[in-house]
């Protein structure tokens, strides 16, 4: 089980700091808005601490964050555990040489990019995003890192939407989440 077995007391405050916005970006979707978590200084601090406690001292040299909300959580974790931060971006944002991975959306496809040379073969990496839904984006990030020989140790998200079965889509890659939202 990759979330807390006996729930850490900090989790309930983190969970209640997240705001749900109905029908965004389209009807039927209950959007999990983490911006209210970022306004709660203690809950945001606790969120980062929970990840740092899990990943510090585990010889992780890379924290890869997925654009754009992964950029909010990833760097503080990277700084605290002594790792590099690597942004995984939408197309045409990263200057210089990149490698690309195409992935499926509900309708159509998108592309994720990473800088060539940002990471070295053999490095141990964590991938972070605010939320896992279907797992498509995280899978693309895993593929990009594995293509250059990086070992993805775990995927970490603040929120999981378990009904969308993202965890299964990650296959053998472990997933750690703080809050599961049904």
């Amino acid at each position: 089980m990759a979330s807390q077995d006996e729930q850490d007391p900090r989790i309930s405050k983190i969970s209640s700091a997240i705001r749900v916005i109905p029908n965004f970006p389209k009807p039927g979707i209950m959007f999990q808005d983490i911006t209210t978590l970022l306004l709660d200084t203690k809950a945001f601090r606790d969120t980062i601490d929970l990840f740092v406690e899990r990943y510090g001292g585990k010889d992780i040299s890379v924290v890869a964050g997925i654009e754009a909300r992964g950029f909010i959580f990833g760097p503080p974790i990277a700084l605290a555990i002594g790792a590099k931060f690597v942004p995984m971006r939408k197309p045409n944002k990263l200057p210089g040489e990149v490698i690309s991975e195409e992935y499926s959306l509900e309708y159509g496809t998108d592309i994720m990019e990473m800088h060539v040379g940002a990471v070295q073969a053999g490095e141990r990496a964590l991938i972070i995003d605010d939320l896992i839904a279907t797992g498509g984006t995280l899978c693309a990030a895993i593929k990009l890192l594995e293509r250059v020989g990086v070992h993805v140790v775990e995927c970490a998200c603040v929120i999981e939407l378990p009904e969308l079965k993202g965890r299964e889509r990650l296959g053998d890659k472990p997933l750690f989440v703080l809050v599961s939202s049904t």
């Binding site: 945001f44 950029f71 503080p76 002594g82 931060f85 942004p87």
Partner: protein
């Protein structure tokens, strides 16, 4: 105002930060020498120095909000906010923020763009620092300042890692102080 002119002259951390930034010529188009901070994020020591310098400056200034401009402002702002006990407020491109937003348009070289902020994120009277990786013309930062002032917040300063020549010699942007760590790197023998 550059950090080196404001108490950090000769601070070796500024050189380390500057050295860690990569220049990518002709991105996103011919003639632009793009200042790439992703290499700074790969250099844990230099990245930590960057955050530490901003934290040291703002920790005793009674700042309650760090507002970060999408997307590279998100890479620096939250760490500063966490260290000084402030809230982090993302200022985003249109249609990214769910719920009620206010918008501010600003000029690009060709056309206009728009910056959005959540209604209610920043109550009136709060003291705010706006952060982005780089300031060029100041168009985006000016839009950020306008957004925050529209809700009655007090923008204390704008903070950037890099300041392009257009702002050199300017201590203020729209009347707000500007605090910059380094000048752009150049490539030797370049076009």
């Amino acid at each position: 105002m550059f950090a080196a002119e404001n108490g950090l002259k000769g601070d070796p951390r500024l050189q380390a930060i500057s050295d860690a930034i990569r220049v990518v010529p002709h991105f996103p188009k011919q003639g632009i020498m793009f200042q790439d901070i992703t290499t700074l994020l790969l250099d844990h020591k230099a990245f930590k120095h960057t955050i530490d310098i901003f934290v040291d400056r703002y920790r005793d200034m009674d700042i309650s909000v760090i507002a970060g401009v999408e997307a590279r402002g998100f890479m620096f702002g939250p760490s500063i906010a966490l260290a000084i006990g402030a809230k982090f407020v993302p200022l985003r491109k249109p249609k990214k923020l769910p719920g009620e937003v206010i918008s501010e348009a600003y000029e690009l070289e060709y056309g206009t763009d728009c910056l959005e902020m959540h209604v209610g994120a920043v109550p009136p009277g709060e003291r705010v620092i706006v952060i982005d990786d780089l300031v060029a013309t100041g168009g985006t930062l000016s839009a950020a300042i306008r957004l925050l002032e529209r809700v009655g917040a007090q923008v204390v300063e704008c903070a950037c890692v890099i300041g392009l020549p257009e702002v050199k010699g300017q201590r203020r942007l729209n009347g707000k102080p500007l605090y910059i760590l380094v000048e752009p790197r150049e490539i030797d023998g370049c076009c």
